[in-house]
Structure formats: C-alpha cells, structure tokens
C-alpha cells in the first residue's frame, strides 16, 4: 500500500511520481499489447484456439455496445475494449506475489489500480471522450436541449454530472482494489496462509466485476451523450 514516491524537481515545482504504479502499469500494458499481437498474428478463416478466444471477447464488446449505444456504435470499440482489457490485467496483477520484490523507501509492487492517480486519469479520458462524441453528434444541443426553464435546469444538472461521473468512476475502481488489498493484509494478520486464500479468490471475481462496471458505465455515458434523447 505504500508507494515508492520519486520527487521530480521541475523549475522550482516539486512533482511527486509514484514509480511503482508506473512500472506495474507498463507491465500490464505490455501484457495487453503482447496478447493483442499474438492474437492477431496468424488470422485465418477457421480460427485456432487463441483466435477463437479473442473473437469471443470482441463479440462481448460488440454485443454490449449494440444494446446500449444507438447509432454508429462500432467506432467506440477501441476505447472500450482497451479500457476493459487493461483494467482486468491491472486488477488481476494485484494477486500476483509481487510483494516479494523489495523496493527502497518501503514501497511495494501491487496492482496499479490501487493508485487513485491512474484511475482518475482513465476517468478523465472517458469524460473527454464522451463530451467530444456528444458535441460531434449533437453540436451545441449537447449542452442545452431547449431554451426553457426545464432545459436550463437540465443543462445545469448535466454540467454537475460532468464533475461527479469521473469522480465516482475513479473512486469506485480505486476503492474496490484498495479495500481488497487491506482486507487481504488484515486476514494475513489473523490467520496466515489460510484466511487470505478465499479473500484472494473473491478479489479475482471483484477484478472482473469492476472492469465490467467501468466498461458498462463508459458505454452508458457514451450512449446517453450521443443518443437522441436522455
């Protein structure tokens, strides 16, 4: 839970960087990229094992996008699929025995999503994406549907949602992973080797559920931003 913080001095401003998050994030990105390269290397009409698995994963994204986004939904697949695959890989990395690698300054390697900076960055990417897509689909009507009292109140509520949606996205993912790690360490203090095991199996379930929730909410936000009515 402790981070390995490196302080960068940039023109008089001290910028602290969580280096352990950066290393584990690169590792998760490398796993996703290598999986992508291996899955698309020898594509054939009769799929092999790896191609069948990756095709069923892609069918999952296509199916959810088809049901929740109305028009031109296939173009959102790159963002949604890479968010889901990265979050799943990152969450599952927390169950690897990475803590046996001792870092200096008391830091420890764990899942990169136990750092709120990473989840907040992903939530802001989602915010920018759906606002951009909404403006491209509806123009200025994205902000103000109709010039009436109800329309102005709705516009203000949606302006507030632009702040609360990324906040809840970021805190939900971060707090689930962080609470899981604290739960495992408390169970480790209670009865080592036996008590953490069921909790770690539960954390594997949580990793998939939280990645699905993040993806579903992203799709729902894109759908409500580009759809005809709210």
């Amino acid at each position: 839970m402790e981070h390995w913080i490196y302080t960068l001095n940039l023109g008089g401003h001290a910028i602290s960087i969580n280096l352990d998050t950066i290393f584990t994030m690169w590792f998760a990105m490398a796993v996703v990229i290598i999986f992508g390269i291996l899955a698309t290397r020898n594509l054939s009409l009769v799929p092999g094992k790896l191609q069948a698995v990756s095709e069923s994963i892609m069918k999952f994204f296509y199916g959810t996008l088809d049901t929740m986004v109305e028009n031109d939904n296939r173009k959102h697949v790159p963002l949604v699929a890479s968010l889901f695959l990265f979050i799943v890989t990152a969450n599952l990395m927390g169950q690897l025995p990475l803590r046996i690698i001792h870092l200096k300054n008391g830091g420890e390697l764990a899942s990169p999503t136990n750092d709120i900076n990473l989840t907040a960055a992903m939530a802001i990417i989602v915010l920018i994406y759906y606002v951009f897509m909404g403006i491209r689909a509806k123009g200025p009507k994205f902000f103000l549907h109709e010039l009436s009292f109800t329309g102005i109140v709705m516009a203000l509520v949606e302006l507030l949602e632009m702040f609360t949606r990324p906040l809840s996205l970021a805190i939900r993912l971060f707090a689930n992973i962080f609470a899981g790690e604290i739960l495992v360490s408390i169970a480790l203090g209670g009865l080592a080797y036996f008590l953490p095991l069921p909790i770690m199996l539960f954390e594997i379930l949580v990793a998939f559920i939280q990645a699905t929730v993040f993806m579903m909410l992203t799709i729902a936000y894109i759908g409500s931003a580009t759809g005809e009515e709210h």
């Binding site: 707090a175 689930n176 559920i209 699905t212 929730v213």
Partner: protein, 79 residues
C-alpha cells in the same frame, strides 16, 4: 483549545461511524438486489444466468457506496 490527542481520538471515532453508516446503506442495497434476483429466478428460472449478471453489476454499484465511506474513513485515520 482542543489538544491534538483529542482530535486524533475523535477522528478515529468518526472513521468508525463513517464506515458503519456507509455499510448500512450498501448492505440494504445488496439485500434489495438479492431479493429482486430471487423474485426473478423463482418466477422465471430460465433467466437465472442473465439475471445473475445484472445482479452482480447492481451489487457492485451499491457496494461502491460503502467504499466511498471507506475512503473517507481511511482519510480520517491519518488525522
């Protein structure tokens, strides 16, 4: 004036109260979600697989409210 030891004790008390009330809401939410799943499955047993997926999604969304309280409690523990 209040000394720092008292502030620290009160912050720990507040952390306990925060996570307690947060857990009440999330427990109610997951309980209602389970009730809805049981109703749906007992009425139409063939939708069990699909309903369980939606149940997990809803349970994760209502569990997140307890985790917001957990974050607040964790911030209070540092005081």
């Amino acid at each position: 004036m209040v000394d720092t030891a008292t502030i620290s004790q009160m912050a720990h008390l507040g952390a306990g109260i925060a996570i307690g009330f947060g857990a009440v809401g999330a427990g109610l939410g997951i309980g209602f979600a389970t009730k809805g799943l049981m109703d749906a499955v007992s009425r139409q047993p063939e939708v069990a697989g699909k309903a369980f997926g939606f149940f997990l999604l809803g349970a994760a969304l209502s569990e997140a409210c307890a985790l917001y309280a957990f974050v607040i409690a964790f911030l209070l523990l540092d005081k």
